[in-house]
């Protein structure tokens, strides 16, 4: 328990809760594959990434105790007693196959990293410190995700189909995680200098990161390249009618 003065910031408390829950959920899902990957080398890499993800969650949960919002139910700031779940619905169940691991690595983990990149100069120091370290550690995760998307896509047949299916099931929820552009939570973080981009700008930065790989492999997603702005842009609306703004997940 913190003995100092607690901060009153519902928006930051909400985002930190979501970041921690997603990191924990990713770590737990990765862990299952630490001895089940298609090759020994991949299993070792999965184990290393599991440690990283659980470590990120471990550094984020203690921050929640610094907020007044934690006083309503102190059990919710401890991962062992927390009953709320602000992780993506996609992470609720065990991965159905290695392609779910790869899709999570490539899509969801990269989306969270896009947020942390935007928080590297955050006015809230504890997040700034963690964001810089997480971004550094996530570089190798991104290389791993891109590499495995290439491997599965080029394998063809059922393996390629499994990858596309996994990407498809995670696609919309990942893009929604940044929130609609008028999301009051993210907008408050932006206006207060905690992140340096609006939800739409975060989503755009994210698309510029993942689209070169998907485009080079002819994996079709509802994104088009704007020749004028030289940027990838979403070509279909996101399902905001099923978006849960509190839990930051679909359904």
């Amino acid at each position: 328990m913190s003995t100092g003065t607690r901060t009153d910031h519902a928006a930051l408390f909400a985002i930190l809760s979501s970041l921690a829950d997603n990191k924990l959920a990713i770590g737990r899902r990765y862990a299952y594959w630490s001895n089940g990957a298609p090759a020994l080398e991949a299993a070792v890499a999965a184990a290393a990434m599991t440690q990283d993800e659980l470590g990120h969650a471990r550094t984020l949960y203690p921050l929640l105790d610094d907020f007044i919002q934690a006083e309503a139910d102190p059990s919710q700031v401890e991962p062992m007693t927390r009953t709320l779940n602000y992780a993506l619905a996609y992470l609720d169940n065990d991965f159905q196959g290695w392609s779910d691991f790869v899709a999570t690595n490539f899509l969801m983990d990269t989306a969270l990293t896009t947020f942390f990149e935007a928080a590297q100069n955050a006015s809230y120091e504890p997040l700034r410190q963690r964001a810089r370290k997480i971004v550094q550690e996530e570089r190798i995760h991104q290389v791993h995700g891109e590499g495995w998307v290439r491997r599965l896509a080029k394998a063809g047949g059922a393996v390629h189909a499994a990858l596309v299916g996994s990407l498809e099931r995670l696609w919309k929820e990942t893009l929604c995680w940044f929130g609609p552009n008028d999301d009051p939570t993210m907008q408050q973080l932006y206006n207060e200098g905690i992140i340096d981009a609006t939800p739409d700008e975060l989503r755009s930065r994210y698309l510029q990161k993942i689209m070169p790989t998907l485009s080079s492999l002819d994996i079709e997603v509802p994104v088009s390249f704007n020749a004028t702005t030289k940027r990838w842009e979403l070509s279909q609306p996101l399902p905001w009618d099923t978006w849960n703004a509190v839990a930051r997940r679909l359904g």
Binding site: G36, A39, E41, G97, D100, V159, V164
Partner: protein
């Protein structure tokens, strides 16, 4: 996105399936020798190898597997690029 969907039961893609099936589905055939050193005054020396057809994945694997020391340099060399000079 294409209409293809579903991942369960894909041969060689689930943790319960046999190792030979996985290797057959995603066979890694390229061997990379891993060299590293801990001090600038040391030469690079071979510390092991990894198998990966993708060079970027080979780099990830080398870093993940051979992380027992804080190396100042690590390189990987594809086995098929090595030219034998003497062989007895």
């Amino acid at each position: 996105m294409s209409s293809t969907s579903g991942t369960s039961g894909t041969s060689g893609m689930t943790p319960e399936s046999s190792a030979p099936a996985r290797r057959e589905t995603l066979n890694e055939s390229r061997v990379w020798h891993v060299y590293a050193r801990r001090k600038f005054e040391e030469p690079l020396h071979e510390i092991g190898n990894v198998m990966a057809d993708d060079v970027e994945l080979a780099k990830v694997y080398a870093r993940s597997i051979y992380d027992e020391f804080t190396w100042i340099e690590m390189v990987i060399v594809p086995r098929d690029s090595i030219v034998t000079v003497i062989e007895t």
